[in-house]
Symmetry: C3
Subunit: 344 residues, 3 copies
């Protein structure tokens, strides 16, 4: 299926103004540095302005107030926020490119008699839904999902194939969870016996995930010992993340891949946490904290909007200075030795 | 379902002695800092004693010999070990809160004719069990499990949904394995050819997991090239852990989430390994070793009960000192510069 | 099933020459340090030569030109490349030890009418194959696999149980993918709104995996925003790896477990990347780069065949020196203090 749009159609759709040939047509979206004549691209960051004068793109979305300094071969459409307009165009294209929402219950789905499936929901092949689970309107379960007893999947939420939700765990509305992710496995709690064996500390709490949350592939979120492990509204978790029991992550926080948060730690709102970060248990991380990739956070972050780096994590700028001097340690040693010699 | 117990009933059950109103009733368990009047809490660590004088808990379990220094509003029950008593109470509550063991074979399970399923076992929907696999008494396979040829699942062992066990791998008795975990994938072995391609080194060994082992979600344990990758009795592995081929982990060792152990390394008994630790291949880690989170262990640990930290990992206390001085490197440089100036 | 071979049979098969009893028989393969009289072992690395004079192995493969300095109890077979010969023997043994390729479509597989399954392929129980997916000759899908719309699985490729391939993703020929791995989940892209919520940036690209690629268990490879996330021919990825959207990994590169590569980064050919490495987004890593385990690579690597270590990653040897001095920081401080005192 080939869709073509003229510059004029796109200008109308984005409420933009055209400079250049308004009859140019494009049939796909591309990055400005890779775009050919049949593609629409965008320029959001002035750092990449030089691409504008080299690109083969048929159409480029640029900012209303961009000051163009050289010849541009593409048709230009000026908009308020080129990245936003491009993202909205991507959403339109996605409807044609990616599989769309389905309806109905596949005959191979095994659903306990106590469970009601709304007419607007899709329950795909080989899905298992246990006793008293609640499934919201427009829910999409793509296949091989396991939904435990008393679990709750909010409306418009989509679970890709092979997502597991343990008993009593609750997922909000408008969430997306990718394949291989496990919600509600037991927290890691064991009380040592004197003979070296352990008693398992039962994990009778659950996981509560807010609305508009997206969770990547192969992430694990453990249920609470008592109470709930919580993920706030609008929060986004990447792939292969570990969220331990009784952790609470606030609203609109973004956590990159392979990061781990240990038990009972509370992370605030609007935080941005890089990949492979480790955060110890039983601490508080203030709202707006930014943590650089691979950092190890070993104590509470009390001041909001702090930027952290390193293991143990410390002030971002100070750590960068120390990292530079770390590389110069052999030189520092030589300078100390030279001072010592002069001394003698 | 609402269960209520009086202080007297709990005192009998925990073999404790009551101080205060013995007719107080509770219907749930909670942390001392969060407990309301309808909840039972415990105080195990004197660090948190101040909570005892502030809590709203109906009942608090405390140690036999605790010296109470202020007014307590709750009924007190004195026991030998409050954490242990509380854990045992949690186990009782768990029976009401979490799904219990089932029996029988779901009609959609696909089980090779050569496999015998004991009457006491549960084989859930869409489980696949290949040729000659052995399934013990009271085994629980919750759904979507894949049990390969000649694999062995010991008695009382529970596999949550979507656990995969490759051919010939053996899991002991009384184990728990959480969703998404993979036991017996191929070890990572490739012999380079001169043209830049690789020959795959076949992995013909297996994985042998002892008794009373618990493994979290989305963990991977690779099969041995030859022989076995081994996990000792009573050992506990958290989520998202990587155990490479031919690794051996001793008994009663605890490993936190996202840690990786490289090929052929042997880890002793009673070790405690933090999260996101990396351990290189072909080394030995002595019994009782404690490794701090995010450490990188690059050589054998010969002395038992060593505490390690950092990358490359070193003595715990020494590393902490160096980490403090790392942050002071800009100051050290200034002091060297000032000495040099005076010199001139 | 017990297979026995004489030294003479093995010598013929490996084109080697025998020293010692040519009628000795072996029935298994083992490591030289663990081999008993019924086993064949090999010696490839002279570092381990001492084992040759102690081993109980029935037969040992050694290098053509090895200079034997003491009595050896085993029958010796001299070959050009003992490790290669042993690997080829392992491949023969594997045919008897591990499950072999099957054919046919299990009646429980749910395959869209638009999909053609070659007669030589195996589609196991509870596999789901969506619309217009392409399945090559001799493909093996072991069970519980999900193959999305328009996805493509090349010939001779094997997917172990519970591998998920999202819509439009393409896997080449002769690949092996282990359980729990997810190919084509959405890249992690969100554009912030002013109210703290996010717009999801649609991920309309795909994943393209070359030929002869092996991918371990529970690894995640995200689809591109636009274009493709690419894994080159002969590249090998271990378990629990994160490959973000629009990453490109070149040919014959090897990446160990739990490493993460951030969005849009391009990694060259013939690289060797250790475990738990983190690589930031939007950089280039030159061909032949070697990166030590747990390193954090924060800028492009321009020179080919560079060896890197540490966070932020730097020249391998320089970093080792700084790491040694890091441990000596308390001593350096003392020396500075002592110089300062003499000064006064």
């Amino acid at each position: 299926m080939m869709l073509e749009f003229t510059a004029q159609q796109i200008a109308e759709w984005t409420k933009g103004t055209i400079e250049g040939d308004q009859n140019v047509t494009v049939s796909k979206l591309a990055k400005i540095e890779e775009a050919e004549a049949d593609a629409l691209a965008f320029l959001a960051n002035k750092k990449y302005e030089s691409y504008l004068y080299k690109t083969n793109a048929g159409i480029v979305l640029v900012s209303k107030d961009l000051n163009i300094k050289a010849t541009v071969n593409s048709t230009i459409i000026r908009v308020d926020d080129p990245y936003r307009s491009f993202t909205l165009l991507l959403q339109e294209v996605e409807k044609w490119m990616r599989p769309q929402a389905r309806k109905g219950v596949h005959p191979t789905a095994i659903i306990d008699d106590s469970v009601e499936i709304p007419e607007t929901a899709y329950v795909g092949p080989y899905v298992i839904i246990e006793q008293n689970a609640k499934i919201g309107d427009h829910v999409q379960l793509l296949g091989h999902n396991y939904i435990g007893e008393n679990a709750k999947i909010g409306k418009n939420t989509k679970l890709y194939a092979q997502v597991t939700v343990y008993d009593a765990c609750e997922i909000g509305n408008n969430c997306i969870i990718h394949s291989g992710t496990v919600i509600g496995s037991d927290g890691f709690g064991f009380a040592p016996n004197k003979d070296g064996s352990f008693i398992k500390v039962p994990q009778i709490g659950n996981v509560q995930i807010g609305d508009h949350v997206e969770i990547g592939a192969n992430t694990s979120i453990d249920r609470a010992t008592m109470g709930a492990t919580k993920i706030g509204n609008h929060t986004k978790l990447d792939n292969l993340i570990q969220i331990a029991h009784n952790v609470e992550v606030g609203e609109s926080t973004v956590i990159a891949a392979q990061t781990g948060v240990s038990g009972s730690t509370k992370i605030g709102k609007y935080c941005m946490i890089g990949g492979q970060v480790g955060i110890v248990g039983h601490i508080n991380v203030a709202n707006g904290t930014k943590i650089n990739a691979q950092s190890g956070v070993s104590k509470s972050v009390k001041k909001e909007n702090t930027a952290l780096n390193g293991t143990p994590a410390d002030d971002y700028r100070a750590t960068l200075k120390s990292q530079v001097l770390f590389r110069r340690l052999p030189e520092l040693l030589e300078r100390i030795e030279s001072l010592e010699k002069k001394k003698e």
